[in-house]
């Protein structure tokens, strides 16, 4: 739709026309500001924990394990130097040989969601899959954080309570 609009504007004599083809979906996925009644919908980006520890493909588990304990997490995300999520290391994988690299034991291509995903949908998805967390990335795969189901449920419950107070 937007390419046609851009060309139409040019045909109407506008000399400087730009097209944001990725559009509103992309904008919201980056957590950028919006307006309108749906703009205050609670979304994944708002609750994503940014403190999730990360490591590179070539780091060895011996080094990673110490950092896991220090960070207070039971998992690591494997990212490249662009912060693109390549894999996930859960606690079981962290028990492998200290010489093993993250690449050798990671779960490749973990499931992710975008920051604009509404929390209600996240909770539903996580309940269906019987999991407690989901990785949040930008549309080009860069790490935003990890969204936890219990946090999403708490935010939604608080919101419902607020709305009931206003009724």
């Amino acid at each position: 739709m937007s390419p046609r609009a851009a060309w139409r504007l040019e045909s109407l004599g506008f000399p400087q026309v730009y097209e944001y083809a990725a559009g509103e979906a992309d904008w919201l996925a980056y957590g950028l500001p919006s307006e309108g009644p749906d703009a205050d919908t609670p979304r994944a980006g708002q609750i994503a924990r940014r403190d999730v520890p990360t490591c590179s493909l070539q780091e060895r588990l011996g080094e990673i394990r110490d950092r896991v304990a220090a960070a207070g997490w039971d998992e690591f995300l494997v990212v490249n130097d662009q912060q693109v999520v390549l894999g996930r290391l859960r606690s079981a994988a962290l028990e492998a040989s200290a010489d093993a690299t993250a690449e050798a034991v990671m779960e490749p291509g973990p499931t992710t969601t975008r920051p604009d995903e509404p929390l209600a949908r996240i909770v539903s998805r996580l309940r269906d899959k019987h999991v407690d967390r989901i990785i949040v990335t930008t549309p080009d795969g860069r790490l935003v954080g990890i969204a936890e189901r219990r946090t999403a449920e708490r935010v939604l419950a608080q919101r419902e309570g607020t709305e009931e107070d206003h009724d």
């Binding site: 739709m1 851009a6 504007l9 400087q16 026309v17 559009g23 992309d26 919201l28 009644p37």
Partner: protein, 67 residues
């Protein structure tokens, strides 16, 4: 020829005075739109509806996504 840009360039251009135009139907715009955008639905894009735009400033158009 229109230039395709990414969100960071949208932010930069808008900060420099560009006009942001949502070309989705009015009801979709009303539900939610990029902060600061005005709405001129594609089906209404003509000389009259675009008269509100300043021709001396860049115009950025967008819809929901690539499709």
């Amino acid at each position: 020829m229109p230039i395709d840009i990414q969100h960071d360039e949208v932010q930069r251009l808008v900060a420099a005075g560009a006009q942001l135009v949502d070309v989705l139907p009015r009801a979709e715009y009303d539900t939610e739109h990029i902060a600061g955008a005005i709405n001129i639905p594609l089906k209404e894009l003509d000389a009259q509806s675009t008269a509100i735009l300043d021709r001396d400033r860049p115009v950025i158009v967008y819809c929901w996504d690539l499709l």
